[in-house]
C-alpha cells in the first residue's frame, strides 16, 4: 500500500494548481460565466497545453496514458476553483466512453482532437422520465442502411449545448426498462435533426435539453444492444471524478470558512473564537477527511469487477453527498448573510456541492442500492 504521488503526478498537480491560481480567481470565474459558451475558451486552450485533455487516453491513441489517480488530481484541482469548463463531460464522460467502447480507428480519429482542445464532447444519457435509472431509455435507434437514426428526447445534458460531439444512449431493442438493447451512439452536435436548448444550471455549469428527430449517428460504440455495461463503467468513473472534484470544492470551502471565522468580528471578537463555531469547523474537517478517503477509495476500486466496483462507487457517492451537504450548509450558515449573496464564492461552492449530489444519483439513491445488497451474517 502506498499513498505517495509519483514525481510526475506531483508535477501535474502543482502545474495545474499554479495555472488555476493565475487564472481562476473568483472574480475571473464570474467573467468566464458571461462569455459566450458560459465558460472560458482561453482556459480550455491552457488545459490542452498542460496536457489535461488527453491525459487519460492511451498513448497509442494520441493520449498521455494517465490513470485514475491523475484524473483524481485534476478533478480535485478543478473543484477547488469551481471550474466551469466541460472537462468532465469531454474527458471523463465522452472520453471514457470512447476509451472503453470505441474501436481503435474511432479512438485514433477522436482522441487527438480532444487532446488538442478541438473537440468538445457531451454524454446525452438522461431522459425526462429516467431520473437516476441508466436503463430507463425511450430514445430509439433505428437501423437505416449501414447506419443508425435516433429519435427521442434527452434531458439535462451536461454541456450539451456547446459539444461538438454527442454520445447518446438509445434503445435499438427491448422495452423501456430492459438492461439489454441499449447502444451508445456518436453524433455530431450540429447534425440535422438535433435540436439543442442550452441553459445555465443552478451551479453555473451548462446544461441542455436535446431533441433528436431522425438524427443520424456517425458511429455506434461496440454493439448497439450491449452498451449498458459500458455506460455503467463510465458513470462510475464520472462518480469517482465528481468525488474528487467535490473534495476540492469542500476543501476550498472549508478554508474559506476558516478565513472568515478568523477575520469576521462580532461582539468584539473574531467569530472563530466562539467554541460552537470551532467545533462546527471540526465537524466540517471530519466530513472533509471522510470524503477525501472515499475519493481515494473510488480511484482504487475503478478497476475492480463490475459488481464490486458499482457497490464501492455507490458507497463513495453516499459519503460524498453527506459530507457535501454538511460542509455546504455549515459553511453558508457560518458565513451568515454573505454566504447566500452571489458576490461571494461560498454560496457558489455550496450550490456546486448540491449539484454534485444530484448528479448520477444522490446519496439516498445510492444508499438504497447498497441496502439492497445487505444480508444476514452467519
Amino acid at each position: 500500500m502506498d499513498f505517495d504521488l509519483t514525481e510526475e503526478q506531483r508535477l501535474l498537480q502543482s502545474n495545474l494548481r499554479r495555472l488555476l491560481a493565475d487564472h481562476y480567481a473568483f472574480n475571473r470565474r464570474a467573467n468566464y460565466q458571461t462569455e459566450a459558451p458560459g465558460w472560458s475558451r482561453a482556459m480550455w486552450g491552457r488545459y490542452a497545453e498542460l496536457g489535461l485533455l488527453g491525459l487519460p487516453f492511451a498513448e497509442e491513441d494520441g493520449g498521455f496514458g494517465g490513470g485514475p489517480v491523475e484524473t483524481m488530481l485534476v478533478a480535485e484541482a478543478l473543484g477547488e476553483v469551481l471550474a466551469l469548463e466541460p472537462w468532465l463531460s469531454t474527458v471523463v464522460l465522452g472520453g471514457g466512453l470512447l476509451r472503453h467502447g470505441a474501436d481503435a480507428a474511432l479512438r485514433q480519429r477522436m482522441v487527438p482532437a480532444i487532446a488538442a482542445g478541438e473537440a468538445l464532447l457531451a454524454f446525452a444519457q438522461a431522459e425526462p422520465q429516467s431520473r437516476y435509472s441508466l436503463s430507463d431509455i425511450t430514445t430509439t435507434a433505428r437501423r437505416d442502411g449501414d447506419g443508425w437514426v435516433l429519435e427521442g428526447r434527452k434531458s439535462v445534458v451536461l454541456h450539451g449545448d456547446t459539444a461538438d460531439w454527442l454520445l447518446v444512449t438509445a434503445r435499438s431493442a427491448g422495452a423501456r426498462h430492459d438492461r439489454g438493447g441499449i447502444g451508445v451512439f456518436l453524433l455530431r452536435g450540429d447534425a440535422p435533426g438535433v435540436l439543442r436548448q442550452g441553459y445555465a444550471m443552478v451551479d453555473g455549469q451548462r446544461g441542455a435539453e436535446i431533441t433528436l428527430s431522425a438524427a443520424r449517428a456517425e458511429a455506434v460504440l461496440g454493439n448497439a444492444e450491449d452498451g449498458l455495461a459500458l455506460v455503467e463503467r463510465v458513470v462510475d468513473e464520472a462518480i469517482a471524478a465528481l468525488a474528487a472534484e467535490a473534495v476540492g470544492t469542500m476543501s476550498a470551502l472549508h478554508a474559506m470558512t476558516l478565513d472568515y471565522l478568523k477575520t469576521r468580528k462580532q461582539f468584539g471578537a473574531p467569530i472563530g473564537s466562539f467554541q460552537v463555531l470551532q467545533h462546527r469547523a471540526s465537524d466540517m474537517m471530519v466530513a472533509l477527511e471522510q470524503a477525501r478517503s472515499m475519493a481515494m477509495y473510488a480511484t482504487m476500486m475503478l478497476e475492480e469487477p463490475a459488481a464490486a466496483r458499482r457497490a464501492a462507487l455507490s458507497a463513495v457517492k453516499v459519503q460524498i453527498g453527506r459530507s457535501a451537504r454538511l460542509i455546504g450548509q455549515q459553511a453558508v450558515q457560518m458565513h451568515g448573510g454573505i454566504g447566500i449573496a452571489t458576490e461571494y464564492a461560498a454560496g457558489h461552492a455550496f450550490k456546486r456541492l448540491a449539484a454534485i449530489d444530484t448528479t448520477f444519483g444522490d446519496a439516498d439513491h445510492h444508499l438504497r442500492a447498497l441496502a439492497a445488497e445487505v444480508s444476514a451474517a452467519a
Binding site: 438522461a126 425526462p128 422520465q129 431520473r131 437516476y132 435509472s133 430507463d136 434531458s155 439535462v156 423501456r176 426498462h177 436548448q197 441553459y199 445555465a200 444550471m201 443552478v202 451551479d203 455549469q205 446544461g207 435539453e209 468580528k265 462580532q266 461582539f267 466562539f274 460552537v276 463555531l277 451537504r325 450548509q329 453558508v332 450558515q333 451568515g336 448573510g337 454566504g339 447566500i340 449573496a341 452571489t342 458576490e343 454560496g347 457558489h348 455550496f350 450550490k351 448540491a354 449539484a355 444530484t358 448528479t359 444522490d362 439516498d364 444508499l367 438504497r368
Partner: protein
C-alpha cells in the same frame, strides 16, 4: 385543560377560509404554490382587500384598525393565509414600523402614517443591519447629525429586504457617538426613500432572486419631525420588535403548505416509471417531518393558549427561540427534500424568472422548478432574524442560567 379548538374557533377558521377563497386572486395563489414570491402589485392588492374587510392589522389595537381577536384567532388567521397560500401582511409595515409608531410615535405621526401603513400606500423597509453588524446590532455605525430642523444621515445599511419596492425606510442611526453604552446614543428615524442621497444597490442571492439590497446614505436630510420616540432612545424601539410576535417565527402554516407541495411533487416525480411517493424512504422522510411539524404546532398552540408553565412572564419564556429554531429547521428540511425529489431537474431550475440568469422555465416540468431556488433561498431562515446559534445562546443564558 382542553386541547382542542372550540366551536367558535372552528367557525372563525371557516369564515377566514371562505373569505380568502372568495377574494384571493387565483394567479396570486398559483404563483405562491409554485414557490415564487408574490409581486409587489399582488401583495399590495391583497393587503387592500384585507384592509377593506377590516383584517389588515389583526395585531394592532382596535383604535388603530386592529380586529380585537384573541391570540388563537390571530393564529388561525395567519395560518389560513399561509396554508392557502396567500400573501402575508407586509411585516415591515404591520409588525414593525406600525407597532413602533403606535407605541412611540407622535399624534401627528400616527395620524399621517398608520392608515397608509395599513393599506400599503407606503411600502416600508427596515434599515437595521449594517456591514459588520449582523447579529450584533448595537455596533451600528450609520450616523445622523442634527442640523437645524433636520438630521443629516450618512452610512450604509445592508440586507435590506425589498428596498427596491420601498417608499420609506425606518432606520436605527447613531446620534450620539460618545454614549457610555453602545445601545445608548441610537435613534429611530423614518426616511423617505426618494430623499436625495439615497442609493439602493441590489444584492442577488444564490437562488438568483433579488430580495435584499444595500442602501447607502450620503448626506441625506431627514426632517426632525421624522424622529420616533426620544433622540438617543431608539434602542427602546428596537427592543419592542424583539419581544414582538412570538409565534410567527414558527411558520407552521407555511411549512404545512410546503409539505403539501412536497407531497404533490413526490406524486409527479417518477423513477422506474413509478411515482416517488411510493418509495418507502421518501415516505418515511415526509412522515418524520410531519411529526416534527405537529410537535411544533402543539408548542405554538401551547404558547398561544398561555398554558406554558414557564410562560407566565413573557420575558422568561424560551418559546420564541424554540419556535424560531425549529420553524427554520423544519422549513429547511422540507426544501432539502424538495431538492431531492426534483432530482436531475433540480439542477436546471430556472430560479426567479424575473431575475437574471434564469432559464426558460418551459424546458422543465412545473413541479420541479421551485425546488432548488427555494432550497438555496431558505438557507436564510436560520441566518436572518437572529441566527439559530444566537437562539441557542439566548436559551442557554436567559433560561438555563448557563
Amino acid at each position: 385543560m382542553d386541547l382542542r379548538f372550540t366551536a367558535e374557533e372552528r367557525a372563525f377558521r371557516a369564515e377566514v377560509r371562505d373569505f380568502i377563497e372568495a377574494n384571493l386572486p387565483a394567479e396570486t395563489r398559483q404563483r405562491m404554490i409554485e414557490g415564487r414570491v408574490p409581486t409587489k402589485a399582488q401583495t399590495v392588492a391583497w393587503q387592500r382587500i384585507l384592509n377593506a374587510r377590516g383584517w389588515a392589522v389583526p395585531d394592532w389595537p382596535e383604535e388603530h384598525g386592529g380586529t380585537g381577536w384573541t391570540a388563537v384567532q390571530r393564529y388561525i388567521f395567519r395560518e389560513e393565509l399561509q396554508q392557502t397560500p396567500a400573501p402575508q401582511p407586509l411585516g415591515f409595515n404591520t409588525n414593525m414600523v406600525g407597532p413602533i409608531i403606535i407605541a412611540f410615535g407622535t399624534e401627528a405621526q400616527k395620524r399621517h402614517f398608520l392608515p397608509r401603513i395599513r393599506n400599503i400606500d407606503d411600502w416600508w423597509c427596515q434599515g437595521f443591519s449594517e456591514p459588520g453588524a449582523g447579529s450584533d446590532l448595537a455596533s451600528l455605525k450609520t450616523r445622523a447629525v442634527r442640523d437645524g430642523d433636520h438630521y443629516v444621515v450618512d452610512g450604509q445599511k445592508t440586507w435590506t429586504t425589498y428596498a427596491q419596492n420601498a417608499d420609506w425606510i425606518f432606520c436605527l442611526v447613531r446620534t450620539n457617538p460618545q454614549a457610555a453604552k453602545r445601545q445608548e446614543g441610537i435613534s429611530f428615524l423614518l426616511i423617505d426613500m426618494r430623499s436625495p442621497g439615497i442609493t439602493v444597490r441590489p444584492v442577488i442571492t444564490i437562488d438568483g432572486g433579488h430580495e435584499v439590497n444595500e442602501v447607502f446614505f450620503d448626506n441625506v436630510r431627514v426632517p426632525v419631525s421624522n424622529l420616533v420616540g426620544e433622540e438617543n432612545r431608539g434602542w427602546d424601539c428596537a427592543k419592542l420588535l424583539l419581544g414582538h410576535e412570538r409565534t410567527g417565527a414558527a411558520r407552521v402554516g407555511v411549512s404545512k403548505e410546503r409539505l403539501r407541495r412536497l407531497k404533490f411533487m413526490a406524486g409527479e416525480a417518477q423513477e422506474n416509471g413509478r411515482p416517488l411517493i411510493e418509495q418507502q424512504r421518501i415516505r418515511e422522510k415526509i412522515a418524520a417531518i410531519e411529526v416534527e411539524l405537529k410537535a411544533l404546532e402543539m408548542t405554538v398552540l401551547h404558547v398561544l393558549a398561555g398554558g406554558r408553565r414557564a410562560g407566565e412572564s413573557r420575558q422568561a419564556d424560551p418559546a420564541s427561540s424554540i419556535l424560531k429554531l425549529r420553524g427554520s429547521e423544519i422549513a429547511q428540511s422540507i426544501t432539502e427534500l424538495m431538492m431531492e425529489v426534483a432530482g436531475p431537474y433540480g439542477l436546471a431550475a430556472p430560479g426567479d424568472p424575473d431575475a437574471e440568469g434564469s432559464n426558460a422555465p418551459e424546458l422543465m416540468p412545473e413541479w420541479a422548478r421551485s425546488a432548488a431556488p427555494l432550497y438555496f433561498n431558505w438557507r436564510k431562515l436560520s441566518i436572518f432574524g437572529g441566527t439559530n446559534e444566537i437562539q441557542r445562546q439566548i436559551m442557554a443564558k436567559a433560561f438555563m442560567g448557563l
